[in-house]
């Protein structure tokens, strides 16, 4: 995950929002039926499977859609076929098989009885019709994944194809072994908004203030403030400026290195309860040896230089001990 910095929208009071791209490489075992299919793709062959009613399913299905019987009889089909239906995609999206406008089509390959959903790179909707013949365009280096079929093209034309995209990083196998796993990278781009309450909190941070809000029902002070008090289900409303001092309620010493770690272990991640707040937030406690951090320790925020402030809690680099006497356990036990 990666987040861009929050962007201020045109009006000062609109909630803050920022784009976030989330991504994950889904890794899936293929099993005996889809395994046959993808391993054949690697050799530029397309396999179907015969169903209980004799129909040949392409792509193969593991169980018959009617009888639920496990299917095992594989049947080779052609890499050419007939379009049964199509729709025009005038604005291709990230990740789709063709980057210029193309048709989605249900294609019945010769020798199959069901249709394969895939892209037809025909250039224009006027080149598409139901009943037309299409043939597969294969990846330069098939790896054993549905994307080895780059797209289909009209069989009776030789359109100028797009440059072949690089083979996707989509299959894993030991040297000389059959493909047993397919990898599919999934990414989504989301425009995330902070709630109105969180936005006020973030804007206050840019001014060096710590802004909490009080629930009108239970009186608890939340920082960050919430769209709804989790106890009472009502928005927090009354604003409360909080000091940048507080106590450590609980903490852990991080000894394990991990990817992206910014501080050399050992260091302390702690729940810091600001004076006057009823909920603690996670931050760093530095400025003393890790083993000196304890529950009830009095701490104060260490701010970045004012010119570096923005709408983020990262304006505070960490908290450090004030040297005052510890808070007694009874004073924060109910915040644990």
């Amino acid at each position: 995950m990666s987040a861009a910095g929050t962007e201020a929208p045109e009006t000062p009071e609109a909630p803050l929002s920022a784009p976030l791209e989330v991504g994950f490489d889904y890794t899936r075992s293929v099993g005996p039926v889809l395994g046959e299919f993808v391993n054949a793709l690697r050799e530029r062959r397309i396999l179907g499977v015969r169903g209980s009613d004799g129909r040949v399913h392409v792509p193969p299905v593991e169980y018959d859609p009617g009888t639920a019987r496990a299917l095992t009889e594989f049947v080779a089909v052609a890499d050419e076929g007939t379009v049964l239906s199509w729709s025009w995609n005038a604005e291709p999206l990230d990740g789709q098989p063709v980057t210029r406008p193309f048709a989605w089509a249900l294609i019945r390959l010769d020798g199959a009885d069901t249709a394969l959903l895939h892209a037809v790179d025909a250039g224009s909707p006027s080149a598409m019709r139901t009943g037309m013949r299409v043939r597969a365009r294969w990846a330069d280096e098939p790896v054993g994944h549905i994307r080895d079929l780059v797209s289909f093209v009209p069989a009776d034309a030789s359109p100028e194809p797009e440059p072949a995209p690089p083979s996707p990083p989509v299959a894993e196998r030991g040297e000389g072994e059959p493909v047993s796993t397919v990898i599919t990278p999934i990414t989504l781009r989301i425009q995330h908004s902070a709630s109105p309450e969180e936005s006020r909190y973030l804007r206050a941070l840019a001014e060096g203030r710590l802004l909490g809000q009080r629930c009108p029902v239970c009186g608890k002070v939340y920082i960050p403030p919430r769209g709804a008090c989790p106890v009472d289900g009502v928005p927090t409303e009354e604003e409360v400026d909080l000091p940048d001092t507080g106590i450590v309620t609980t903490f852990c010493i991080v000894n394990v290195p991990f990817l992206g770690q910014r501080i050399k272990p050992p260091y302390v991640a702690a729940y810091v309860l600001l004076d006057g707040a009823d909920i603690a937030f996670l931050h760093l406690v530095l400025g003393c040896a890790a083993e000196e951090v304890r529950m009830g320790l009095r701490v104060r925020a260490v701010w970045r230089p004012r010119e570096e402030w923005s709408t983020t809690l990262e304006n505070i680099t960490h908290f450090e001990p004030t040297g005052e006497p510890d808070a007694p356990y009874e004073s924060f036990a109910h915040h644990l």
């Binding site: 399913h57 239906s85 025009w88 019945r108």
Partner: protein
């Protein structure tokens, strides 16, 4: 087994874009309040809570847990969630009351579709091995289905435009609808195709929204409202996920669910068809003749909040009973591509 009734329904305005977070709290807080005002219940009276939403749509993990903030879940509540339209959350809540485990339930769904690219996000509900890696978008798949029926002579572009025109005319009377400008069929047919063979009016708008339905045992319901909408049948069925192996011009799962739910002889039907031709498929599958009033709310073509539009069909249909304008109504919800999974509920006056 206890009978179960709908006693309350509320929804957020269907809009193209909200400023809220993707966890729905800002949309849910006011609709919870509204449904409590209407039923005289409070959160302490609710025996079971169940929601429908999607983390892919929200772009964050456990968005439904963040949404629980809107409830004020203290003392701890009895709660569940489905990663599909909240009509299926209602099914779970219906079972809880049916079996006598609880007496009341609150069901809610929410989604902020505007946060991402909806037609792309919906590719993630497809088969993950051979279909989703191509990123087939929801509009492209619906277009394949529409053309099959058009070329087989099962429906025409005019039939499709008539569905859109009727929906918009009805939405003019629904203050929660997103698309409310009445328009003539001829005018719609003059518009260009945007995803051949689909025109813009064939495609439900992208909508942010939320909805809530309160259920109670029939006994309890009589104390809460004058005319509870008793659920006399609710069933759901699913078709194969292999798009190329089923007849996309029919909806066998809807037919089967309707048969099992005892559908028939209804005067009003709220259908969850995000594309015009899908309403035509559903009317055929449900055997709804010309005398049945379809989507008096305007339906999903005038506002399609993901993960609550199906629940809202049940809420809208129940409202016809609650307000005394109908005796026996049908509600339908769908999930998945090209009407893959379908739920049918029949509601009657007590």
């Amino acid at each position: 087994m206890k009978d179960v009734a709908v006693v309350g329904f509320a929804q957020a305005p269907n809009v193209r874009r909200t400023h809220g977070t993707t966890n729905g709290v800002e949309m849910l807080v006011p609709v919870f309040r509204e449904v409590f005002d209407r039923t005289g219940l409070s959160k302490q009276d609710i025996g079971f809570w169940c929601s429908g939403s999607s983390d892919y749509l929200a772009g964050r993990a456990f968005s439904f847990v963040a949404a629980v903030d809107a409830i004020g879940a203290f003392p701890p509540i009895h709660e569940s969630h489905v990663e599909m339209d909240a009509a299926w959350a209602l099914y779970e809540a219906w079972l809880k009351i049916r079996t006598g485990e609880v007496d009341t339930a609150l069901v809610y769904g929410f989604g902020k579709s505007s946060a991402g690219t909806l037609r792309r996000v919906l590719a993630l509900q497809l088969d993950p091995y051979v279909t989703a890696p191509l990123w087939p978008d929801s509009i492209g798949i619906a277009g394949l289905q529409a053309r099959l029926g058009l070329e087989a002579g099962l429906w025409s572009e005019k039939d499709m435009a008539e569905v859109a025109a009727r929906s918009r005319a009805d939405a003019a009377g629904n203050p929660y609808a997103q698309v409310r400008e009445p328009v003539e069929v001829a005018e719609l047919l003059d518009a260009p195709v945007v995803a051949d063979p689909l025109r813009a009016h064939d495609i439900a708008p992208v909508t942010d929204g939320a909805a809530v339905v309160v259920l109670a045992s029939a006994e309890r319901a009589r104390d809460l409202v004058e005319r509870p909408a008793v659920i006399t049948g609710i069933e759901h069925r699913v078709d194969s996920p292999a798009l190329g192996s089923r007849d996309l011009t029919r909806s066998p799962s809807t037919e089967a669910a309707a048969r099992a739910a005892g559908a028939g002889e209804v005067t009003v039907a709220e259908l969850h068809a995000p594309f015009t031709h899908q309403e035509l498929i559903l009317r055929e599958a449900l055997g709804l003749g010309a005398g049945v009033r379809i989507n008096p709310s305007g339906g999903p073509l005038t506002g399609n909040p993901m993960f609550s539009a199906g629940l809202a069909r049940i809420g809208e249909a129940a409202t016809r009973i609650l307000d005394g304008t109908a005796e026996r109504v049908l509600a339908h919800a769908t999930s998945g591509p090209a009407l893959q999974q379908n739920l049918v509920a029949v509601l009657e006056r007590d």
